[in-house]
Amino acid sequence: MSVRHVLTAFLAGALIVGTARPSLAQETKVLRVVPQSDLKILDPIWTTAFVTRNHGYAIYDTLFGVDAEGKVRPQMVDEYSSSTDHMKWSFTLREGLYFHDGKPVTSADVIQSLKRWGERDSLGQRLFAAMENIQAKTDATFEITLKQPFGLVLEALSKPASVPPFIMPRSVAETPSDQQISSYIGSGPFIFKTDEYRPGERVVYVKNPKYLPRREPASGTAGGKAVKVDRMEWVILTDAQTQTNAITNGEVDLIEWVPADQYTALKSNPKIDFANLVPKGSFALHLNHIVPPFDNPKVAQAALMAVNQEALMRAQMVHKELYNTNASIYPTGSTYNSDKTSFFTGKPQIEKAKELLKEAGYRNEPVVLLYPANFAVLNKFTPVMGALLKQVGFNVDMQSMDWPTLVSRRAMKNLPTQGGWNAFITGWNLPDNINPLFYAPITGNGEKGWFGWATDEQLENLKAKFLVADTQEERQALADSIQQRVYDAGILAPLGEYKQITAIRKDVVGGIVTSPVGVFWGITKN
């Protein structure tokens, strides 16, 4: 056979194969979703990864949910009541709750699940510390008795982040909380297909035919979780360009989180629509309080005064419609959002900051600013923040690294010259900061607290009062005081809010339920 024959045969073969495009039509309705990242850990109690939490909401149910207005609504619970002093709570599960293996959900499953969650989640730990006991009265009824006031019982049981109290079968929930579960049976609207799970490739769920949705319409993580497709496949595509190409070609139906750099390309694409699966999130600058110079609150305040939210958000999000500024530590439009922000405005106060630095006796110590250069969601902020801090008079040392390195570096308590750090920027989802007790970084308990380890007794006292506050007015006043204290102690600076854009195929996908976290019930596919 001549060379010409070989080449001709090859090209002809390629053409034949090329035209044999795989059929994307399926008999069953399959929703193909590109999740925000790969699902590597399947235990939503063991990790705080957003993608694992979304997986949790797909296959597990919760006792309570949070609706679109942020109100707590019963979910697995049918009726509940509390004593007049709110020290005793009684809950009755609704009828028709079954796990995927066909066994009914009982109080024993609920209690064991809450115990495991209570060992991992910070608010869960507080709830169990305030609890005298939790016991089953019948298969469908259980009681919580408190030994000290705890004003957030329902908020804790409906908590959508970081670790929601998902209900698992008792045998699964008996897994020690420092080990991952190995069985993935829930009572939620989707069933996880263990046999089709291929990390890095795809995650498959099918509709739970026995799931009995509540009668109310779906709203947030509450209401009727009615699944409108037969099967949901999470297609793992980490490259932003590949995601865009895939949805343009109709190979996937929904991209959970469109990176800002693909926004223009998708906006001008007539085949694509945008939706709000998750309403918004925020970014914040975090300072290290156990090493100089931010161990001095005045120096920390000067750093907060350097923040120019508009410049920072514009650099990162590019398009004005994808962000907004917000001087409050709580999300815009949420219950505790307030304009009582002490000196912090989110606008640069360069001269004032310079004076404060002088007054504080700043000695030109280097400020090590951690720069996650490979992390597209955050990497435009740091150079701008570095320039703003320099403008104020800080001696900025911006150190470039990948995100995993930053995550481990921020746990180092050494001096910056010995592998420690002074400042870094990270992002938060809406449910993370709707409540001061949910917001992990606002801690004043020193080295027991979140990275940055500020010691501030006043802040801790305010949080303790918030926990036992009886009325909403009291809570609002305390939330304001907490916010002001966060700024006065220079703990963190909010940088603004981002809109999380979800791309869907126009005229193909509908019924998106906007929720504090990514949920996939209610979605239709034509």
């Binding site: 090859f10 990790t47 705080t48 190995s182 490739e201 297609v235 360009q241 190979e251």
Partner: protein, 313 residues
């Protein structure tokens, strides 16, 4: 021959030991801690300590290395920190796409590069030679991701002939399997065609100046037979050697190409493992690739016996 094989296999043991030690030390001394990635934003010192302890990361390095070595001796590559699956199982899940992509690329490369190289050598110095060599230089210079995105734009988005991403297993049908592989394999082939065509051209051109070629022509043998039977046969050793080296290069190219086309193969598994600091997975994959490289080199050495009867081990 058997003695040679035995000697070579024994010689791989210290090589693999050194690779194992180096990759173990690199994972431990590189910045990043898998425990912090696992516990996430709610990390407290106690949680971190507990997770590190569960993963065995609080033990001294010699103990950690000894534990891994003992697992290897028992035939286990360990368990992934994140995925909680055996590393060998994960490699097994991902090997098919990578193997398919590598084999198809090699077949396409050899089918295109060797004839191109022969033609270029035959028309040495002519316009065809210059054009082919110009194409080779271009193919070798343009990064794989650029070629990949261009092919996607043209063949998948504009003409909708092929899917833009993913992989279909061969068990799901030959058509979908090939249609998912044509673009990535073409992307990778363009680079290796450039490399192998140049080597083939040089080797065949050199052979064409030998006395036995002149003798063959004087005997009146056809030019095609002279080229294939006499020139190419004698130029085969450098070509096979560079194909062997090409397999090693291909492993690097596969990582980028799998990322561009979202192929769930060993390349993307490696990238994920490195980014999440999944130490057992990084160690297992690196060791696996080292074994593949050693085996390919061994096969190349054995092929010399077939290609050149004068060689004896």
């Amino acid at each position: 021959m058997l003695m040679f094989l035995g000697r070579r296999i024994i010689a791989t043991i210290p090589v693999l030991l050194v690779v194992a030690l180096i990759v173990f030390m690199m994972t431990r001394f590189a910045p990043g801690d898998p425990a912090t990635a696992i516990v996430g934003d709610d990390a407290s010192a106690a949680n971190l300590h507990r997770v590190r302890s569960n993963l065995g990361l609080n033990d001294s390095l010699p103990i950690q290395f000894g534990r891994w070595g003992w697992q290897l001796l028992q035939g286990s590559l360990g368990e992934s920190f994140f995925l909680k699956k055996q590393v060998s199982e994960l490699i097994g899940q991902r090997i098919e796409p990578t193997l398919a992509l590598t084999c198809l690329t090699l077949i396409m490369t050899i089918m295109i590069a060797v004839p191109l190289g022969i033609i270029a050598a035959w028309r040495h110095g002519g316009w065809l030679d210059r054009m082919l060599m110009g194409f080779s230089a271009l193919g070798f210079s343009v990064p794989a991701f650029v070629i990949g995105y261009m092919l996607i734009w043209l063949f998948a988005l504009r003409w909708q002939l092929f899917p833009v991403q993913g992989y279909s297993r061969i068990s799901d049908g030959l058509g979908p399997w090939l249609s998912h592989l044509v673009l990535p394999a073409t992307t990778l082939s363009i680079i290796y065609v450039a490399l192998i065509a140049r080597v083939t051209r040089a080797a065949v051109a050199e052979a064409m100046t030998e006395d036995y070629i002149r003798t063959a022509r004087a005997k009146g043998i056809s030019e095609t037979r002279v080229l294939v039977r006499h020139a190419l046969a004698n130029a085969a050793i450098p070509i096979v050697t560079v194909i062997g080296i090409g397999v090693a290069l291909l492993i690097g190219g596969v990582v980028v190409t799998e990322s561009v086309f979202a192929i769930p193969g060993l390349g993307s598994l490696t990238v994920d493992a490195v980014l999440s600091r999944d130490f057992p997975l990084i160690q297992g994959i690196t060791l696996f690739f080292s074994v593949v490289y050693v085996v390919v080199n061994l096969l190349v050495d054995i092929s010399y016996l077939v290609l050149d009867p004068r060689i004896r081990y």
